[in-house]
């Protein structure tokens, strides 16, 4: 199945965006982001701490709806999902 990962702002600069990737059925939200972020050590370090947990300021969305960081490891992705990963917002 295929999902799209969108990084924004500093995360986008480090990891790219609109990444369409094949994932195995049953894959969890956090493992997918971990695998994708590992392609760039600086990008990984921007999103995850040394223990491999999300930095507490990271914001996750699935199909435009917020996912709590603590739920990411138990939230499965399904075919066609759009996943967004971004730092705190600063508009206005």
């Amino acid at each position: 199945m295929t999902v799209k990962i969108r990084f924004f702002a500093r995360f986008r600069e480090l990891l790219g965006t609109d990444i369409v990737t094949e994932v195995a059925p049953g894959a969890m939200f956090s493992s997918l982001i971990t695998t994708t972020a590992r392609k760039n050590p600086a990008g990984y370090a921007a999103i995850f701490d040394e223990k491999g947990d999300f930095h507490e300021f990271v914001i996750l969305m699935k199909n435009g709806k917020r996912i709590e960081l603590t739920d990411a490891a138990k939230t499965p992705v399904v075919d066609g999902d759009e996943i967004a990963v971004f730092p705190p917002v600063a508009g206005g």
């Binding site: 500093r10 709806k65 967004a84 917002v89 508009g91």
Partner: protein, 140 residues
């Protein structure tokens, strides 16, 4: 009008359009690129979600403050010092509601709409930090 766009807007035309029947006050908020020793500012948005969030904020402001009209236009792309970033135009029967509605909208945008700014300088650039612990409102 609720929009995320690169183009600037005609604020005078927005004010004219905001004067619906019963209007006694129009409040305009115009956020501009400040001269913080930068060359330009680059703005980026998660557009689909940001527009939905702006529409929700406009609806909530209308309900809470009895606004007669709301425009929110947030620009993205590269902007130079002095250019408009965010224009909010609201109208209401009386000034307290117009002021309160406008203030509510800008604070909610800062709290949770997925938009980011990068200040570009001669030495490179720096992302404007968002408020830690916030960022996209409450989980839905």
């Amino acid at each position: 009008m609720i929009a995320i766009q690169t183009a600037d807007v005609d604020i005078g035309a927005l004010i004219a359009a905001a004067k619906k029947q019963g209007t006694g006050a129009v409040v305009v908020f115009d956020g501009v690129v400040r001269d913080d020793e930068i060359t330009e500012m680059e703005l980026e948005a998660y557009e689909e979600v940001a527009v939905q969030e702006l529409e929700k904020i406009a609806g909530e402001a209308t309900r809470q403050f009895g606004l007669l009209h709301v425009d929110i236009i947030h620009r993205i792309g590269r902007l130079t010092v002095g250019e408009n970033i965010l224009i909010i135009v609201v109208s209401a029967g009386h000034r307290p509601d117009a002021y309160s509605g406008s203030r509510y909208i800008i604070e909610e945008i800062k709290r949770g709409v997925p938009i980011w700014k990068k200040e570009l300088t001669r030495d490179g650039g720096r992302w404007v930090p968002g408020e830690h612990g916030h960022g996209s409102g409450k989980p839905q």
